[in-house]
């Protein structure tokens, strides 16, 4: 039995009927075609599926789409404005914060959550904030630098 939901994703409103067992990540990827949000582990550990739900970073593989009824969601696709990358995206490019790029959308969304709470984080605070996001390629050094780049750019 489908349940009707209304969500705002990247400032656009959507209405849909979803099976209650559909996970939010599948709603975003398969129904809305927003495939920037990735599925990595599918077991709540890796953070590749991180999106911003009502202002807070959450793992969309561990939420039902029905739980997002009425919510405002931001995904990696919503960051770019008028063809200009968001400073966090720019930071990942400038500081080589990615290799294969699989973890990157989740890293970026968690960094977004951090910088909105704490615009000037220390290195330790950046590492603590990214604890729920795994990267199998980079060794994290350049990811931390990318977030530092974004913090500097956003506060200038």
């Amino acid at each position: 039995m489908g349940v009707p939901i209304k969500v705002t994703v990247n400032s656009r409103q959507y209405e849909a009927e979803v099976d209650p067992r559909m996970l939010l990540v599948h709603f975003l990827r398969d129904v809305l075609d927003l495939t920037g949000t990735h599925v990595g582990c599918d077991t709540s550990s890796c953070g590749a599926c991180t999106v911003i739900l009502n202002g807070k970073a959450v793992k969309s593989c561990t939420l039902l789409a029905v739980q997002a009824d009425g919510a405002e969601i931001l995904t990696v696709e919503g960051l770019e404005q008028n063809g200009k990358l968001h400073p966090i995206q720019e930071g990942f490019r400038e500081e080589h914060g990615l290799q294969c790029g699989f973890c990157t959308p989740g890293m970026i969304m968690t960094a977004y959550d951090l910088l909105q709470r704490n615009p000037n984080p220390s290195e330790a605070e950046i590492r603590h904030a990214l604890e729920g996001n795994f990267c199998r390629c980079t060794g994290y050094q350049n990811i931390v630098k990318a977030v530092q780049y974004a913090a500097a750019k956003m506060s200038s």
């Binding site: 209650p20 953070g47 807070k56 561990t62 009824d69 996001n133």
Partner: protein, 285 residues
């Protein structure tokens, strides 16, 4: 992975949630943050036929000091809200110290104190904290309201005093303003649950310990107070010698968990070393 099918219902009030529970065919479950239940449903370890989403019940989301002087926390309060609360920082910082090291940012944004206590995972962080804080858990169900001491509430691995249909509504903690506290944790490197977690709460004048509470989670099938370790320090000065005594007294006679990550012997060792270091840190300043 996705869960088996279920009938999804939203409750806007406690009464509505309870009546949705009573009218369900088969097994009904309350859904709070979903960060224990949804992973379990995806693995088909849980297959409720009805899921009652209680997250929209706004009246269960608060942190305030009551007329009784205790801090009251609504069961839907998230770990992140507890970690960031000024009221908790002032009256019961131990709870915030535990909340800050639960999982990761994303887990803390969704997970709730009610869900964590109802689930009573042996590797969870709140159980030791609520035992040390001597919290009272208020539940409401088809047969009315009950106030349950944390020590009676937490029964065993994934087992609590909750009766079918009962909802945790409130967690009350007396004010410990002026007490010292710390929560130390040996993390499982992948899951971030506690292999060993120790909550310590002490009323001390400098090094003179009037009262002390020491509780463990992660170590055994259920969190517990270690009274032997407490007695080694209660009414005494915390010195290197008495701290070593407390660490040696700890975990005696406890049936320690053993798994592929940490043997019982290793857990016990870490449990004592961490206690010693935590006490040294607590009484150093």
């Amino acid at each position: 992975m996705f869960p088996a099918s279920f009938d999804y219902r939203v409750a806007e009030s406690i009464d509505e949630a309870i009546s949705l529970y009573q009218s369900a065919d088969g097994e009904a479950r309350y859904l709070a943050g979903g960060h224990s239940l949804i992973p379990a449903m995806k693995l088909r370890l849980a297959r409720p036929s009805r899921l009652i989403d209680i997250r929209p019940i706004e009246q269960l989301r608060y942190i305030r000091v009551g007329d009784d002087g205790a801090v009251h926390i609504g069961s839907l309060t998230t770990h992140a809200e507890i970690a960031a609360s000024d009221v908790i920082a002032q009256h019961a910082p131990l709870l915030a110290q535990a909340a800050k090291v639960i999982g990761d940012v994303q887990v803390r944004n969704m997970g709730t104190i009610g869900g964590s206590l109802a689930h009573n995972d042996p590797g969870a962080d709140y159980p030791a904290a609520v035992l040390a804080l001597e919290a009272t858990i208020t539940v409401q169900g088809p047969n009315g309201t009950r106030h349950i001491a944390a020590t009676d509430f937490l029964k065993d691995m994934y087992e609590t005093a909750l009766e079918p249909g009962e909802i945790i509504v409130d967690v009350a903690i007396p004010s410990y303003s002026g007490w010292k506290s710390t929560y130390v944790k040996f993390f499982h490197p992948a899951s971030r649950y506690a292999v060993v977690g120790i909550a310590i709460l002490a009323n001390a004048d400098g090094n003179q310990v009037q009262d002390i509470r020491i509780a463990y989670n992660g170590v055994a099938s259920c969190a517990f107070r270690d009274t032997a370790a407490e007695n080694a320090l209660k009414g005494k000065a915390a010195t290197d010698a008495t701290i070593a005594e407390a660490a040696n007294a700890a975990l005696n006679g406890v049936d320690v968990l053993s798994d592929h990550f940490a043997s019982a012997e290793f857990r016990k060792h870490i449990g004592r070393v961490y206690l010693k270091r935590a006490l040294q840190g607590l009484f150093a300043g």
